[in-house]
Amino acid sequence: MVSKYKIMFAKTGMSRFTSHLDLSKLFERALRRADIPIAFSQGFNPHPKMSVAVPLAVGVAGERELLEVELKEEMEPQEITRRLNEKLPAGVKVLNVKKTEKQKKSLMAMVQQADYRLECMVTEDLEQSEVEQVVSDLLKCSSIVVQRKTKGKVKESDIRSGIHFLEGKVDSGVVTFNARLNTGSGGNVRPEEILIQLKEAGLPIDCTCCRIYRGDLYGDESTTDSLW
């Protein structure tokens, strides 16, 4: 009897530099150390039935990341949380676990948007009104074209339709932006791309000194509930 669980975890501190692939390995090993009986795929080359909902760029912290896992037997969600947290390295922490019903779609296929928080140091004095002006001007644009390097080729891409929400607040030398951006297999807006746009529009921010956090993940646009 296979049971499916959804795990919410945080990946913060130095562990934000762990790559997506390495993070999967990290969880696979932590599950084994915690003696949680993970299910394996059938066939010649069995692999653990576990998948992280959506990759997180190296260097970006995740505060409410999601992971799906199938176990060979049923376990209490609290027990999974407890056991895993005993076996996870510094920086990675399980926040919550719940049992899920059989779904048609995997989490990975459902993710479409995510909340981001971007904290930047300002390089000169900055008023709240300036931030609001620049943000609202940016959102008024009907298209925002950015250049992306993929496999050595530079491609242009319009990210405007992928920005669903953006606001900024200045407080003691730090400006914090909250944003809801397209994320997942259906299209991605990279938070750094927003920062570059804001800087180009005149905001005095140091893009190399920013901390980026991802929050809740969302599926279908019609719902405001997160995928948790």
Binding site: G13, M14, S15, F17, T18, S19, L21, D22, K25, L26, E28, R29, A30, L31, R32, R33, D35, F40, F44, N45, P46, P48, V58, G59, K87, L88, P89, A90, G91, T208, C209
Partner: protein, 618 residues
């Protein structure tokens, strides 16, 4: 470290530089009486694959009074940013500057990492030459296989540890702590440490040269410093501390699995092999010990693969029952067993069949030479029949890809031996076709590396083939191996040429190393980083010639630059082995009780520990 957070997003694989891995140990800095930084002079993924690091790390960190942290060589992108932001070389555990440690301990696995050692000291803000460092700087020590010809590094390293470190390192720490408590100066500390067996302090020795440039004598400056420094070895490998909580790397390492050391040493006596001499005698571990260790390590790491490591795992007496028992206990949880190296015989293929239920990867064999004559010269006890039996078995069992390792430039090699490589490869292809392997999938990969003569081997007197000869041989083989189903792999021999000059080198090469580092040489073992022209320039500027070193043919009665370092096998025996090699005579394996008289056991008061073949359960 805010600066670090700023540069990490700009480098490749930033997880190399952060630490915090599962089972890494961060101890209280203030409570430790001695703090050691273990430095691996290559990238994280390579260094984390080294079992010796895991052994020493846990050995030292288990002591209440000591701590050990790790540091690896930063890749070029990281080095550039660290220097730009003035971030000194730091350890992964506490992110402290390496300069704050009491001891900086390098491991010497490969000559072509020597430039990284100097560069790492420079990045730490330390003068690279021992003579320029004062008492406030860490004591710089080094061990590992290349410590057996430490002379090219003699100007930079305060002391070398020869042989296995499990006993001598704790002894050193004891001496260090006592000296620190008594505020004993650096010179006196070195003097005390030089009294320990296995410790070589190069500054305590004078080297005299003949006008020809050859070494005349290496003599200690003090009467109670040993004339010849003996290696250390563990009498009881079975009871030796073995890390049951190894650090689990946070990014895919080269060997990212349980490394279960089944034995130490190898009895085969291949005449080119330095490790075979350095780690003598063979000492097998009890299978019960191994089963317990495997169980603990799997539970503590979560790895899904147990690799049975040693110089020649198929020779381990209990290998068959051990594999069966490991599979019995772990296969159900999705944990597999793997064998890193196979002997060239059907027995090995049978074992591979047992452990590898899915024939996904290729099987690798190392006949090393193409003809029986040359295999006898190098004492590689393998026949063509062994190889054909092995590959036939492998093809029959479902493998379709075979890799064959050879060396070119071995002493006495002729073009007939190269023809032998080509013909062996073709026989392997034929065996594949005969076994009905699909013509679309059949693949035989031939890799040929260039022979580098090493100290303390039967070939230590031998010159390396010239670079032109090696390149001509590679071209010849490439031509001969333009055959369907066969791939031929080789590296340019310039790296092997530089490796040979260092491996056979003396103390004067310190100047060359320092100049090469100054010109930007780093990671010389990586093809994309190796800068041959700069190395040649460094030699020229130092007034030395790499050919003189690499192509040197020594007489038996000459003083070799490493004669004051004793690996336990007598020079007389090595000379005899060299003569037997030239006469194409093989020497028996001491595993079966016939002692060929290498001299190690009586001089080190030890005996080989062989459990005896027995395929019953364990």
């Amino acid at each position: 470290m805010q600066q670090l957070e700023k540069i990490l997003p700009q480098v490749q694989k930033p997880a190399r530089y952060i630490g915090g891995e599962w089972n890494s140990v961060k101890k209280d800095w203030d409570k430790a009486k001695v703090r050691t930084a273990f430095a691996f002079p290559d990238v994280y993924e390579v260094g984390m694959s080294y079992l010796g690091l895991q052994i020493l790390y846990h050995l030292v960190n288990q002591r209440e009074d000591s701590l050990m942290e790790r540091v690896f060589a930063p890749w070029a992108d990281m080095e550039h940013l660290m220097r730009q932001e003035k971030i000194p070389l730091y350890t992964l555990e506490s992110h402290r500057s390496v300069k704050e440690f009491d001891i900086l301990a390098f491991t010497l696995q490969y000559e072509m990492t020597f430039t990284n050692i100097l560069n790492m000291m420079d990045m730490a803000g330390m003068p690279v030459r021992s003579a320029d460092r004062d008492e406030n700087m860490p004591l710089v020590i080094a061990g590992g296989p290349c410590a057996f010809n430490p002379e090219p590094l003699a100007d930079f390293i305060d002391l070398f540890i020869l042989g296995e470190g499990e006993e001598v390192l704790p002894e050193m720490l004891d001496v260090y702590i006592e000296a620190k408590e008594k505020s004993i100066g650096r010179e006196e500390l070195l003097y005390q440490l030089a009294q320990l067996q296995g410790v070589y302090v190069p500054s305590f020795y004078n080297v005299e040269y003949f006008e020809s440039g050859r070494v005349k004598a290496v003599t200690p400056k003090y009467s109670d410093v040993p004339k010849v420094v003996n290696k250390r070895l563990l009498k009881d490998v079975d009871k030796a501390p073995f890390p049951t909580h190894p650090i689990v790397p946070s990014i895919g390492a080269v060997h990212d699995r349980v490394m279960l050391e089944v034995q130490r040493g190898c009895t085969r006596g291949c005449r080119f092999c330095q490790a075979g001499v350095l780690y003598r005698p063979v000492r097998e571990k009890d299978p019960q010990t191994l089963l317990k260790q495997a169980e603990d390590i799997v539970a503590n790491t979560g790895y899904d693969e147990i690799s049975l490591t040693s110089l020649s795992t198929a020779d381990y007496s209990k290998v068959r029952p051990l594999i069966t028992a490991l599979l019995d206990r772990h296969a159900g949880k999705g944990v597999n067993v793997s064998l890193p190296s196979l002997r060239v015989d059907a027995f090995s293929v049978d074992m591979a069949k047992e452990v590898q239920k899915v024939r996904r990867s290729s099987l690798t064999f190392a006949p090393e030479a193409g003809t029986q004559r040359l295999r006898d010269v190098i004492n590689k006890g393998v026949t063509e029949e062994n190889l054909i039996n092995a590959v036939t078995g492998a093809f029959a069992a479902g493998w379709h890809s075979i890799k064959l390792y050879f060396m070119i430039g071995l002493p006495t090699e002729t073009y007939e031996d190269l023809d032998g490589i080509a013909s062996l490869a073709q026989k392997v292809v034929k065996a594949g076709l005969d076994q009905g392997v699909s013509r679309k999938r059949l693949k035989v990969t031939v890799s040929a590396s260039s022979f580098v003569p090493k100290s303390h081997t039967a070939f230590q007197w031998e010159p390396q083939d010239t670079l032109e000869e090696l390149r001509a041989k590679q071209r010849y083989l490439k031509d001969k191996l333009k055959v369907k189903f066969i791939n031929f792999n080789y590296h340019d021999s310039a790296t092997s040429f530089m490796e040979a000059a260092l491996a056979k080198g003396d103390r004067r090469l310190g100047d060359v190393l320092q100049r090469a580092v100054g010109m930007g040489c780093r990671f010389d073992g990586w093809d994309e980083c190796f800068q041959y022209d700069k190395w040649l320039q460094a030699y020229e500027d130092a007034g030395l010639d790499p050919k003189w070193y690499a192509y040197q043919l020594y007489d038996y009665d000459e003083t070799l630059p490493w004669d004051h370092i004793d690996a336990g096998v007598s020079k007389r025996y090595l000379a005899m082995e060299h003569k037997r090699a030239l006469q194409e005579q093989v020497t028996t394996d001491c595993r079966d009780g016939k002692c060929p008289g290498c001299g190690l056991c009586p001089s080190m008061e030890i005996e080989p520990l062989v459990l005896g073949r027995d395929d019953n359960g364990v």
